[in-house]
């Protein structure tokens, strides 16, 4: 049947090529609907409990998205007239930021002070151009003693200061809204640096991080993608040994990407750095099919057969295995649909589509186009093929020792898997080549961090935030947090109450303490709220019936493990020291990212199992042997296990990126096994060879193709390890390692296994 199919394709070469092009174009048109998402929330499914908790908190208070201008004066002095003029200038202009709802800085901090029986509420640095030395000293004194400001808007050493803009995107189309903010703040930064050349500016904040996602992808696209294509072309030209094969394969690759990305557009998938890495993974996958078809074609030509006959024969023997490997690869990638992080589901689906497009093209477009191109007359046998024969002989001779040696080595490596622990660091998702990462690192080291944990502390009664007992509990909790080494800053409402109490008592420092009566506290609050300006209200800290308050803990940049451990201690503290109403888990992007690794590993465990079962069933049917099908489990599973063992020795930390690797590599690794086994079984069944000769046959026919495809895969994923996005580079590195182990297992472990277990009986056919 495969032969008749091949003949049919070659009879209708031109039609095939044209129809392929039409099909690809129809899919590729969908690419116009592709957008790059710039919202960290895409990493979380709609029903992710940490996301839901955080959204609730934001709906109760206000959104946390922000842009932080970190100002670094050349003279390291924040409290000079020049710097404060610059801060005031920036604060004023920052209000024009699209979708901004709040701008906070040293200059517009609403300071309260007493003047006789008057309560003064005004900007800390009002009209800074008129400030004299004494004013500057006073402002410095106030600011550096104000817990709301220190370590949030000014460093304790007073060498850097921040202007924080809270952003509340309408969320109708974040791909449009976020860049509007970014464009504005970058222009503002440029204008600022021109106006105040003695002050350096860094930009950090969640909104900046959101924009770093598409920028990381664009970085990869402009640097890694061309490198990858070039590399593949060189490798192909070397192995396929011909211009025709190289160029046709190039088109297969490009068309597969176009088709898959186009389909992604039709399906309305929004691109993220992980899903966009499909552009770099698809070529790696697509190339394998073409290589298999071309290798056998060349081998036939080497034996002196005619071009068309060679191609027909190649398709005849490759149609089923190439189809099988494509299906299993697609299933492996589709196992990512079990992931808790939607970008990986998208990645899996896009690559799966790309793989299937590549399959169709390599058995339609590729042979047809090859025949239309001018071909070389004769190709000499290469030294590499003799290498394969030597390898086959080595494996057959040493099969016993190999089996024992490989087995022991595997057990040893696998025993290191438990050394892996769950850990991640989401700012480090971005490489230092991305400006956001550098700025965020600077901010974390000098002023304030991106790692926040928000608590909505509930009193359980209307107006309960003014209750002295509740306030005491809140303050104790805040103070407990301030004692923890991981904490930069705690923003808590009780500091405001203490300051108000002091100001209402003639600024007497002895009154810097919590009000003793509920009514008094409530009335202070009423008075204070009445005198605050637009955008500096307390709605971000109090809910509307004033029964709950938000406390924000800012942490140094740290790993998810540390965050979760800290939050666990905080929960313990709450259980031991506070009423039940206050015992709520922290919510924030930091908490979300800290949990997603573990959630994802659990969900991917199921996904990988499903993929494994499906792939094994397919193999059993395709190979028409339960025994061989079951046997294939060993070389299919061992590579990932070995890779994780090696990772346990070398790195030992697993995060979001690595949780999807086993599922996706399973599909790739299976290919080698399928090709090897299908050739082995063909030899056993069609040619009636015994196990040893069948192994020899398999090495000769498919060994070289496996080496080539594996090298291509390893090279492709190695390029991806240079991604500006750590999720991609870690995933790619692990995949490359897994593929190395796979080819070793297929050459050194699978054949000895076959000879040991399949050699004796003759159950086949």
């Amino acid at each position: 049947m495969a032969k008749r199919y091949a003949e049919f394709i070659l009879r209708n070469k031109i039609t095939t090529v044209i129809l392929s092009l039409v099909w690809i174009m129809a899919m590729a048109v969908g690419a116009q609907y592709l957008t790059f998402t710039n919202d960290y929330r895409v990493f979380f499914g709609d029903d992710n409990p940490q996301l839901v908790a955080f959204e609730n908190l934001q709906d109760t208070y206000s959104k946390n998205d922000n842009v932080m201008f970190v100002l670094v004066p050349e003279d390291n002095q924040v409290f000079t007239r020049d710097t404060l003029i610059a801060v005031a200038w920036l604060t004023e202009r920052a209000w024009e930021t699209p979708y901004s709802t709040r701008v906070e800085s040293l200059s517009n901090y609403q300071n309260t002070s007493a003047e006789g029986d008057d309560l003064l509420v005004e900007d800390l640095a009002y009209e800074p151009e008129n400030l004299n030395k004494a004013d500057l000293l006073r402002i410095r004194e106030i600011a550096l003693n104000e817990p709301v400001l220190v370590n949030r808007l000014v460093s304790p050493r007073a060498h850097v200061t921040g202007v924080n803009i809270t952003i509340e995107l309408p969320g109708i189309d974040q791909t449009v809204e976020n860049p509007q903010v970014i464009t504005f703040v970058r222009a503002l930064k440029a204008e600022f640096m021109q106006t105040f050349p003695a002050i350096d500016v860094k930009l950090t904040g969640i909104t900046m991080m959101n924009q770093a996602f598409p920028e990381a992808s664009q970085y990869d696209m402009s640097t890694l993608f061309p490198l990858m294509l070039l590399l593949f072309m060189v490798v192909l030209y070397f192995w396929v040994r011909g211009f025709a094969g190289t160029i046709t394969t190039f088109f297969v690759i490009i068309f597969s990407i176009m088709g898959a990305m186009g389909m992604a557009g039709w399906l309305g998938i929004a691109l993220t750095p992980p899903s966009f890495s499909a552009v770099m993974i698809i070529p790696t996958m697509a190339i394998a099919d073409s290589v298999h078809v071309l290798m056998n074609y060349i081998q036939a030509r080497q034996k002196g057969e005619a071009r068309e006959a060679s191609m027909i024969d190649s398709i005849r023997i490759n149609l089923q295995p190439v189809f099988l490997t494509s299906i299993t690869t697609a299933i492996g990638f589709m196992s990512m649909n079990f992931s808790d992080a939607p970008p990986f589901r998208d990645l899996g689906n896009i690559v799966a589509m790309g793989v299937m497009v590549a399959f169709v093209l390599s058995v339609t477009f590729l042979p047809a186009a090859m025949m239309l191109m001018p071909g070389r007359q004769q190709v000499k046998e290469t030294a590499s093929n003799r290498m394969m024969q030597n390898l086959a002989e080595f494996v057959i001779r040493r099969r016993g020792k190999l089996l024992v040696g490989m087995g022991l080595a595997s057990i040893l490596l696998i025993s290191f898997i438990p050394k892996n622990e769950l850990n991640d660091d989401f700012v480090k998702y971005f490489s230092e080549r991305i400006e956001f990462r550098r700025d965020a690192d600077f901010a974390s080291a000098n002023l304030s961090g991106l790692y926040l944990v928000d608590y909505s502390l509930e009193s359980g009664i209307d107006g309960g935030v003014s209750d002295p007992e509740f306030q005491q509990n809140v303050e104790n909790f805040a103070n407990w947090y301030r004692d923890q080494a991981e904490v930069i800053h705690v923003n808590v409402i009780t500091d405001t109450f203490k300051r108000l109490n002091k100001s209402m008592h003639g600024d007497d420092p002895a009154w810097y303490r919590l009000p003793e009566e509920r009514e008094l506290a409530a009335q202070y609050l009423l008075l204070y709220e009445m005198s605050l300006p637009y955008g500096l209200d307390l709605n971000n800290q109090l809910n509307i019936d004033k029964s709950a308050t938000r406390m924000t803990v800012m942490l140094y940049n740290m790993t998810t493990k540390t965050v979760l451990a800290l939050e666990k201690r905080a929960q313990q503290w709450l259980r031991d020291n506070s009423p039940v109403s206050m015992q709520k888990e922290g919510a924030s992007p930091t908490i979300m990212f800290s949990n997603i690794g573990e959630r994802n590993i659990k969900s991917m465990l199921l996904g990988t199992t499903v993929a494994l079962v499906l792939i094994s069933i397919i193999l059993i049917f395709a190979l028409k042997s339960i025994k061989i099908g079951m046997l294939s489990l060993i070389p299919n599973l061992i590579p990932a296990a070995l890779a994780f063992g090696a990772w346990g020795i070398a790195v030992g930390q697993i995060g979001l990126a690595l949780s999807v690797v086993t599922g996706m590599t399973l599909g790739i690794v299976v290919d080698d096994t399928v090709h090897f086994l299908s050739k082995y079984l063909r030899a056993r069944r069609e040619k009636g060879l015994d196990a040893q000769d069948a192994v020899r046959y398999a090495f000769n026919t498919v060994g070289l193709a496996l080496v080539v495809t594996s090298m291509v895969l390893i090279a492709g994923f190695t390029v991806l390890t240079f991604s500006a996005f750590a999720l991609n580079s870690n995933m790619a590195f692990m995949t490359a390692v897994t593929i190395v182990f796979a080819i070793v297992a297929d050459f050194l472990l699978l054949p000895p296994l076959l000879m040991a277990l399949d050699g004796k009986d003759k159950d086949n056919d």
Binding site: T60, E168, E519, L520, A522, P533, N539, K546
Partner: protein, 260 residues
């Protein structure tokens, strides 16, 4: 020489004369007419129920009694007595509103048993955590804004002047407001508030207007929606009473303590 100057002055004045009235003049005229229409109410009291609503749909209520005294050639004086929530019951706020100067404001806190003068340039912050700012509730003085008449337009059951106005007060939270004022009773039917980045921040819709003393219109309901954070506040006005006999003496900071 004098002839030339006279000629130039005439030439420069003619376009202005010939166009009858610019949009700015018409806007100002409408604001003056509205102020004039409301003139002479002397004083009024009313109860206000404020219902706050956040994005998740939670609500919270405040109850305030308002007393307003009309002041010639300056902003009105208002005295607000807070009844709810319970922990601020008895708190009183006295405000002398001004056009372009910061308002004078005193608060009596029963828990502290003291009157405190609040010195602040701010009147743009939320009033009791609501979506109303103090400046949205203060009296409508003509000099608080510059104006630009836009068009006439149907609004609710009336025809409205649509006027754009720009705050003259430096510390206003807005850059621009668009107001719909009905042509007959000068009812402020709808207002749109634009923030410092010039985007729409809030919309206020007033309804259930009642006429008092056969002349003065007051809304029964005012609903203010903040479009940027999804919060809203409904003000319901009850027990309007006009010409209740309030005098200057009832609006003194010294007497704030004893007023009920």
């Amino acid at each position: 020489m004098i002839k030339i100057v006279t000629f130039m002055v005439v030439m420069l004045t003619i376009p202005g004369l010939s166009q009858a009235q610019t949009a700015a003049e018409k806007g100002l005229e409408i604001a003056q007419a509205a102020k004039a229409y409301d003139k002479g109410f002397t004083d009024f009291t009313a109860d206000m129920v404020m219902t706050l609503k956040n994005k998740s749909g939670d609500t919270s209520t405040r109850v305030i009694r308002m007393h307003t005294l009309e002041v010639e050639n300056d902003g009105d004086k208002t005295l607000s007595v807070f009844d709810q929530p319970a922990d601020v019951k008895g708190t009183k706020m006295l405000t002398y509103t001004h056009g372009l100067e910061p308002d004078d404001q005193w608060l009596y806190l029963p828990a502290l048993k003291k009157v405190k003068r609040i010195s602040s340039r701010n009147k743009s912050g939320p009033f009791m955590g609501s979506t109303f700012a103090f400046e949205d509730l203060g009296s409508q003085e003509v000099e608080k804004y510059t104006y630009l008449y836009l068009r006439d337009e149907a609004c609710a059951e009336w025809t409205c002047f649509v006027v754009e106005r720009y705050p003259a007060y430096k510390h206003s939270g807005y850059t621009r407001q668009v107001v719909w004022i009905d042509r007959e009773g000068y009812r402020l039917v709808k207002s749109e508030f634009y923030d410092r980045k010039k985007s729409l921040l809030k919309t206020l819709v007033a309804s259930d207007f009642q006429q008092f003393l056969g002349h003065y219109w007051r809304p029964g309901k005012m609903n203010m929606v903040n479009h940027q954070n999804g919060k809203s506040t409904l003000l319901e006005w009850k027990n309007y009473q006009f010409k209740t006999g309030l005098t200057e003496r009832d609006f003194r900071s010294q007497s704030l303590k004893r007023i009920q």
